[in-house]
């Protein structure tokens, strides 16, 4: 009886496993598969995963189009700068929260936690006039600055947590040896927080890489567009070049997939830290 029940449970698990894999994986498989097809084969009946015309043509076309390559360069530059600035500014702020008591500490801390609930679309209209009056419209600066508002809180909260686990004696030892707080932070504390910083950096990169709303409204010309906006532009321009849109989607997802593959542990630690304590 018990043996039978176990068998039944095992069958149920296998069935859910397979159905789950189809649900999660099929759209992705279909995207990749279509990026290797000719455009005519994408909606052919019956649909096939691999066709006799399997080729990298769609990818080649993207690499040969400077406008589309530009979307990728822009995205890498912006995301890279955002990660560096977020970590630099965030670490400094976290150090203040972790090592000092000062007036306004709890107010500033509450504001930083609360930012995570502010919908970007709320700030969009004031940003438009603000960015225009700062003469930053249609520049990388517009995107980098506005992204920082949404990447910094997570970084500050996480790094404060890491620093809190490190004894204050470490800083004092450096200062007794004649070093400053600044050297204590960057030479002693930060090097031992590297695994945590990788998680934070990856999460930040993903936020910047995926951002769509500000990239859509605060830039205007195609040479300033990022990948998420660029993919959608392709939809408007070449409504029927599905294979190219799929190839661009694959290329646009590659950085995140690669990060996930190589740093799965850090990735998951970073992404779940908000909900799991």
């Amino acid at each position: 009886m018990i043996g039978q029940k176990k068998l039944w449970v095992k069958i149920l698990i296998v069935v859910i496993l397979i159905l789950g894999a189809i649900w999660a994986g099929f759209p992705v498989v279909w995207m990749i598969s279509n990026s290797f097809k000719t455009n005519a084969e994408i909606f052919e009946l019956p649909p096939r995963l691999i066709t006799e015309n399997f080729s990298f043509t769609a990818y080649a076309k993207i690499f040969q189009n400077p406008e589309q390559v530009r979307f990728f360069i822009n995205s890498y530059i912006i995301s890279g700068i955002v990660v560096i600035l977020t970590l630099f500014i965030g670490i400094m702020a976290a150090y203040a929260f972790s090592r000092f008591e000062f007036k306004g500490k709890s107010v500033i801390n509450t504001v930083i936690v609360a930012v995570q609930a502010v919908p970007p679309i709320t700030l969009l209209i004031p940003y438009l006039s603000l960015i225009v009056s700062l003469k930053l419209f249609n520049t990388f600066g517009a995107l980098v600055l506005t992204y920082l508002v949404f990447t910094l809180p997570y970084c500050i909260l996480m790094v404060t947590g890491y620093l809190n686990t490190m004894p204050k004696d470490l800083d004092e030892a450096v200062m007794i040896d004649g070093g400053s707080r600044w050297t204590a932070l960057w030479k002693i504390l930060i090097p031992s927080a590297i695994p945590g910083l990788i998680s934070v950096g990856m999460y930040t990169f993903m936020q910047a890489w995926n951002e769509y709303l500000f990239a859509l409204t605060l830039t205007k010309t195609n040479d300033m567009r990022t990948v998420p906006v660029g993919i959608n532009l392709l939809m408007g321009q070449h409504a029927y070049e599905w294979n190219q849109m799929m190839a661009m989607s694959v290329l646009g997802s590659l950085p995140i997939l690669v990060l996930f593959l190589f740093f799965q542990k850090y990735f998951i630690a970073g992404m779940t830290a908000g909900a799991v304590k």
Binding site: M31, A117, V118, P119
Partner: protein, 293 residues
Amino acid sequence: MNSKLKKTLTPYGYLLPTLILMTILLVIPIIMVIRYSLYDNVIANKNPAFVGLANYVTVLSDHDFWNAIGHTLFFVIISIIAHMLIGMTFALILNTRYLGARTKGIFRAVYALPWMFTASVIAITWRMVLDPNGVLNYILMTLHITSEKITFLASRDIALQSVTLINIWSGYPFYMISILAGLQGISPDLYEAAALDGADAIHSFTGVTIPQLKPILISLIMLDFVWTLQQFALIWMTTGGGPVNATETVSTWIYKQGFTKFQYSMASTGAVILLIVCTIIGILYVRQQRAEA
């Protein structure tokens, strides 16, 4: 004296870049958007008139806005329920002792896949899958589930459900991974104790698993509520709020008021209403986090 002053100022020095940035790009814009919502026809008009709460009266008596709220609530509530169910099912399966570590690792990566894609990639891929001539229609017709092609995203009757389905796909992995982390943190002793008391699988799930996961589940629901409430990119790139407002949500309503109708005051008013709702949930979230700590 001088060194004391320096000591007092040091923390502010470390905070300075953050404070400047947050003042210019958070505090001032929030004041600006509230101000805009109290004026008539801002930005387009050089000398807008102060109208008090008149814009709020207009927005809150706008039929389209309430429609958008209705769609948003459907979108958010169905997404959260489905995220929870799918995330919980996958997490429980990935946590059973029936599977080897390798199998678990592979399936965890497969199930986490939707997490890796940005909204525009998700939108374009699903538009292709859900196309009237697309692969899903082919499968449904081959299996005789439907006899005619379904226009998932272009039909007023099911566009909202289709967009919600896409959002369910893109959002459950966060639940799965978080719940999985939570499950792995539950002490096996609790299950042994429950088993000694004669609890079967269902009772140990309701008696041990759910109470132990409760703080995580509450956090997840609140975070997801705020995120889904403001979801813009996915809806914008699949249906653009259409057909004929069928998938209009609060965020696409705000965007259209501002960027296609140039009614910045109306857009700001909608934005402030959204901000108030998100802030309330945000405060509850912070309280809940503090209560746990």
